[in-house]
C-alpha cells in the first residue's frame, strides 16, 4: 500500500470522526438556538423590533450554516485528497 492510499484512509477516518463529533455537538446547539428564539420572541413579528428581527434571522441561519460548514469541511477534505 502506497502513502497516498494510506493518507486517503486516514482522511476518511478523520472525516467520519469529524462528522460524528460535529453532529453530536449539533444536539447541544439546537436547544440553545431554540431558547434564543423563544427569548427573543421571534415568532411575534408584529411586536419585536427590526433589530430583534434581524437577530432572529441570524439565529434562523445558525444551524444551516453550521451544517454547511461541517459538510464543507468534510467534503472538502475528501475532495482535496482525491484531487491533489
Amino acid at each position: 500500500m502506497n502513502k497516498k492510499a494510506q493518507s486517503l484512509g486516514l482522511t476518511i477516518m478523520s472525516v467520519i470522526f469529524i462528522l460524528i463529533i460535529g453532529f453530536t455537538a449539533l444536539n447541544f446547539l439546537l436547544p440553545e438556538v431554540t431558547d434564543a428564539r423563544n427569548n427573543l420572541n421571534c415568532s411575534s413579528a408584529a411586536t419585536i423590533s427590526d433589530g430583534t428581527k434581524l437577530l432572529c434571522l441570524v439565529f434562523d441561519l445558525t444551524i444551516p450554516y453550521y451544517i454547511w460548514i461541517l459538510l464543507g469541511v468534510v467534503i472538502g477534505s475528501v475532495a482535496m485528497r482525491f484531487v491533489f
Binding site: A45, D50, K53, C56, L57, L61, I63
Partner: protein
Amino acid sequence: MKKTLLFSVLFLSLITIVSAISWGSFGLGDDGQVNLTSPTDSFISTTENITFSCSAEILDGNYITNLSLLHNQSGAWVINETFTSLLTGLHVVDDVGGTDSQPTETSKRGIIIYTHQRAVIKNITVNPLVTATRAYIQYSNGTEIANSTITSLVAEFNQALEADTSYRIVVDNETNNWGDDRNTTYPFPRDLGIINITNGSAGGLNDSTLFAVDTLSLIGEPIQASLSKEINITSPLDWSCLASANDSTFGYPQSNRTILGGISSEIITFNISTVESATETYKLNITAYGGLTIEATFIYNGTEYTTTKTTSGDNTVFTNTIDIAQVDSETNKTFYWAMSFNGNPVNSTIKNQTIGIITMSECSIGNSSSYINFNYSDEVSLTAINASLSAATLEYWVDSKENSKTFTYTNTTEVFNNTFCILPSDRTYNVDIYYPYTSTGYPQRIFDPPSTAFTSATTNYTLYLLATVDGIFVTFQVINQAEQLLSDVIVNATRSISGVETVVGSGATGAAGTITFWLNPDFIHTFNFFKSGFDLLVSEFIPDQTSYTITLGGDASQQVNDYTRGITNTILPSTSTELVNETTYAFNYTLASSYWDVDEFGFTLKLQNGTVLQGTSLLSSGGTLNLNQDTINYSRIVMEYYWVINGTSINQTTYWNVFNSANTQWSISNFFTDLNSYLEEDLFGIDDFGRYLIIFLVLFTSIGILSFKYGLNSPVAISSIVFAVVFFFDYATGLLPNPVGAIPNFPTFAAAIILVSLLFREVTR
C-alpha cells in the same frame, strides 16, 4: 341445658332420617333395600326406548306390596309404572306320611313344598280331621327350622323360606318324631304340582277325597320383587324406584340415576330399490334430547362417506347422495350411519337397498319398454327407406354418467326402423346417441345429438338420408378469432323439410377443428355452432361449397367484463400532495359511473402495516364519501377504495406520504418564512418596492458576476439565469411580490416565456 338437649334430639332425629334414606331402608329398623338395576347412572341412550329395571327385597317378616318406577321426565316426579309383586307359587307334594293318609290319622302327616322364590309362611291351617297338636317346618333332610302349636286348627309361623328349596311341613304330637328316616318316603305318591298363590294364600289342598291324610292351608307372602319397564324417553330425566311394604313402610335406593340424553326418534329415508347409475339420496333424521353433540359418517356397502349435517334445534339430519355404481346382477347393499353421541359410538339401524341392473336392447316398436325409435327417409323424395347401422353406440344412464353403460349395435341388414328398449321401463334415462346409418345409394350420415333424456313414451326420430346424386360433402372448420382450431364445437345442421326444421347433420368437431356433413347444396340450411365460452353462432346459407371456415368470436377470455369501463374515480387530497403530520385532512372519494350500474363503493384508510384507521361505503351507483383523518405521526396513509358491480369487487389502492414537520424550526425554509413575515411587517421599512429593488440588485449582481467571470453573453444564457433567480425568489421562497394577483407566480411565468421565446428564436435562427 334445655337447648343442648333439644339440639341433641334434633340431631339424632336428623341422623336417623338421613340413615334411613341413605340406606334405603323400609322404615326405621326394617331390613330391606331397593336396587336400581339398569340403565346405569348418567346414561346416554342410543335407542328410542329405554328399559328400566329395579328390584326390592325385605327380610324382616313383612312382605312387599308394590314396587313403582318414578321419573321426572315431565319436570315433576311421577310414578310411571307400578308392579304388585306376588308369590308365583309353591310346588307341593302331598303325603309325607306314606300310603296311609286318612285324615283321621292324628299324627305324622304332612306335605313337601318347593319354593320357587323367597317367601314367608305366616301360618298353617290344618284339616279339621287332624288331631295333631303341633306343626313343624323342616328342611328336606329332616332338620327342623320352626314349630308352632296348633290352636283352633291354625299354627302360627312367621318363617322366611329361601328360594329354590324343598321344605317339609308336617304335623305331629308334642314331640317331633320325624327324623331322617322320613326321606325314605320319597318319591311321594301325590304330586300336586305348582299351587298358585292367590292373595297370599295357597289353598286347594283340602280335598278329602284325594288326600285322606292331611289337608293344609299355606299362606306365603313375597319378600322380593322386581320391575322392568320399557319406556319411550324424549328428554333427560332422573329416575328411581319406590317399594312399599305391608306395614306401610317404604324404601328407595341410596341415590337416583340420571338419563343424560339420547335419541327420541330415528327416521331413515331412502328408496328401498334403485338401479345402477342412479343418484340416490339417503337421509337420517335424528331427534335427540339432552343437547347431545351428534356426528356421523355414512357407511354404504362398507365404504365410508362424509355426510352432510343439518341441525335445527334437537333435530339433526344427515344427508348423503350416492351415485350407484354398476352391478353384475341385482344386488342387495347395506348402509348405515356410524354415529357418535358426545363421543360415544353407536350405529344407526342397518338398512338394505336393492340395486337393479339397467339394460338396453334392440326391440320392436310397441314394446312397453321402447324408449327410442328410428325411422329412415329420403331427404329429397321424403319416402321411407330402409337403412343399416354400423356400430351405433348408445351410452345410457339414469343420473350419473360416470356409471353409464354403453349399448353398441350393428345391423348390416337394411331395415325400415330400429327401436331400442331399456329395462326397467319406469325410469327416465339419459342417452348419448352416436348413430351412423346408411343405405344403398346413400352416403352414410351420423346422427350425433347431445345427450337427451328419454322416457318410456317412445321418442321417434326420422333420420334422413340424401342420395349420392343429390348431395355433397361439406366440411366445416371452426376457429377462434386468434385463428386457433377449436375442437368439441357442437355443430348442428338443419333444414326445413315439409315445413319442419329437421336435423340433417349433427356432431362435434374433432381435434382438427373440423366436421363433415353430407348435405343437399340446393337448399338453405341453418347451422348452429356452439362451444362453451363462446357466443352461439347461427348461420344460414346454402352449403354449395365443400368447405367453410367458421370463426367463433368472443371466447371466454374476451368475455371478461371490464368493470373499470366508464368508472371515474376522484380522490382528495390529491395523491401528489405530501401530507403533514399532526394535521386533520378530509379524505374524499368520489365515484361516477357512465356505463355500469355500481352496486356499492367505498374506501378504507390504513397504515402501511395494514392497520385499519377507518372506512366507509355507500350502496349507490355513485357519489362522494368523506372521512376526516388526523395524520398524527404516521409516515404513510394508504387508501384502499373499491366498487362492486354485479357482485364483483374491483379494488384499487393509493397512498399519501406524511411529512413529519418535527425539527423544521431550524431549517432554511424557516429562515425564509420568518423573513417573509418580517418583511410583511415592514422590516427596516422595506415595502414591495424595496423587495423588487433588492431582488433586482441580486439579479443584476449575479448576472453581472457570471457574465464577467465566465463570459456569458448569450441572451439564452442570461435569460436562463434570470429565470432561475426569479423562480427562486418567487416560487421557492415567496419573497418576490406578485404584481398580477390573478396569475399566481406571474414573475416566474413571465421569465419562463421570455426564456422559451429566446430559445425558440435561437433554434429557428
